[in-house]
Symmetry: C5
């Protein structure tokens, strides 16, 4: 049976996995969804590795990043880890992060998080079901997650 | 026999391992606890590797980071190392760090260190005993270590 | 049959792959061109790995980088990933990126993107067809992509 | 025969290896000491790898870091390399660095370098001879190299 | 037949390889010299890997780094890649870089580049012919490339 992973954290202030799982359940019939919750972003790459070792074809990770410089270094380290995992395995790993300093108002941050999680879940679905060219019709189109698309330069 | 590792440093100004071991001994009956002390944070990833090579299922590392820019680069390098170790092995590695510039008063720094060490030791216990979904009830709940939880955005 | 890969993103605001493919089709007769579109730059290294696993000899990647500090860390992480992939496989991976803060006017950004994509596609062709010394006549000549060549220091 | 490595550079302005070797000769009877000198810090990780490939159980590396931002990036890259070597091999690698901007006066810099080299050589001896808990009596004690110990927070 | 590699770029504004090859031809009789030119610094680590895969014992890489922050991140990524290659293979890789912001005047930059390339080529020769202790007489002597030696601290 195909399987797909969702990694999230207790540090995050929005339950992004809930919105991701809605998308995955709707579009990936026949896939088992494996959720794995860890404390924070630095724990995400190893969790994604454990999910890949269970035989999953793809993983979406949901990180929440604080506003300080140390948080940004943690973001960098975590990003490097997920990218190295991708380079080692070739698996599809969609790395979603929300940064606390992206918005002043919590409700705006929540809106960004939900939109970003949902649209990246759709990206994961497209790549798993449609293959390497599934997103090609949108290539160079200035697509954004969490914000309105900016579009291509005319 | 199951085993779990605790890596700490002589650079740290609080004996965080003592509080971690209290938690582990209370909740991980039947586990051997392996402690390994190294000079500073840059020595931690290789020490964690040695503990994993002894057959341990998880490791908690207790780093102490100075306030300067070079210290932050050492933090970044050490974080990358632990994350790569996690990505190579899939083991549960809880990376706890306390930064000297987190608080002005030493006693506050000590309080942060003890709380963070204890609560992350509880996270390690949960993941070892409860598996990938053990922390899922707290996913997106804005849990913090060393500070009060901030909670989810309403 | 020889194959060459083109990785691009939906985040980009210019369809750089179109210009790259024009160059590759013109100069690499007998090569199959494999395109793979992913959401953003952090997804590029794993996509390049998937293309190399299909047996391609070279890959050109087309990243678009936002103007913020977090975007630059993503650029760094992505660059490290592609470089590690190159170090692991020895394959020719030409990593093209355009940074949104390179120009004030969108039309200038588009001009940079197209020129850079085309000239780096020519670099990929040269290395694939001409071998390690194909670019040696231009060594130390101050060649630029997206801007006029600055030339050697006299 | 057991062996232990010392890697140093021609860039450094103090012959730290001399002080390190004094400590190692005094305390590691029966160990062969292998010295390897390279130009600068970016050459150190591969040199440490060569020494480990000779069968040595531990290595101490003696880096000297310039004051500029590029020097600090070189420090970061070198630190990551040594940490990855440690994570790959599990060997004990003590990474000593002195930064030219640590002190205004050269003689103070020299004092720091000698003290740091000697005390870290003692750390290497302790770990090689005493095993993973050899430094545990000093865990959390605020030990410093190059400066007076700051001690634990009361 | 022994072989040694020289990797350079079309981005550089000085043909440093010319000066390096002069030194190598003079001092490494019996070595085949393999040159490999790539577009820029991010392409260097994979090129060095290709040269090592040809059986060469050492490589000297000649990078040219722009003055902007993105250029410095590219420098960092490239440095990490070369260091990881060194840690994986144990080969001698001398990583020479010239930074455009090292000097105001182009002629001074050219002087730095030539001197640095030549003296590091001599370092490569010394390590290949003389082994791990070939540079030990200069350890801690404050040797510089591109600038006058600063000497040891008295």
């Amino acid at each position: 049976m195909n399987c797909v992973g969702v990694v999230d954290t207790t540090f995050a202030r929005v339950d992004m996995a809930r919105y991701v799982i809605e998308v995955l359940e709707k579009h990936l019939a026949g896939y088992r969804i494996v959720r794995h919750t860890v404390p924070g972003i630095k724990d995400i790459p190893a969790a994604a590795k454990r999910i890949i070792d269970m035989g999953c074809e793809g993983v979406i990770t949901l990180g929440w990043v604080g506003p300080g410089q140390v948080d940004k270094y943690s973001y960098l380290a975590s990003s490097i880890g997920l990218i190295i995992l991708g380079v080692m395995t070739g698996k599809i790993i969609i790395d979603v992060t929300v940064h606390e300093d992206e918005a002043d108002k919590p409700e705006e941050l929540k809106r960004i998080a939900i939109h970003r999680a949902r649209t990246h879940a759709e990206n994961l679905v497209a790549l798993l079901k449609g293959g390497p060219q599934a997103l090609t019709p949108k290539a160079g189109m200035g697509i954004r997650q969490g914000y309105p698309d900016v579009g291509p330069i005319k």
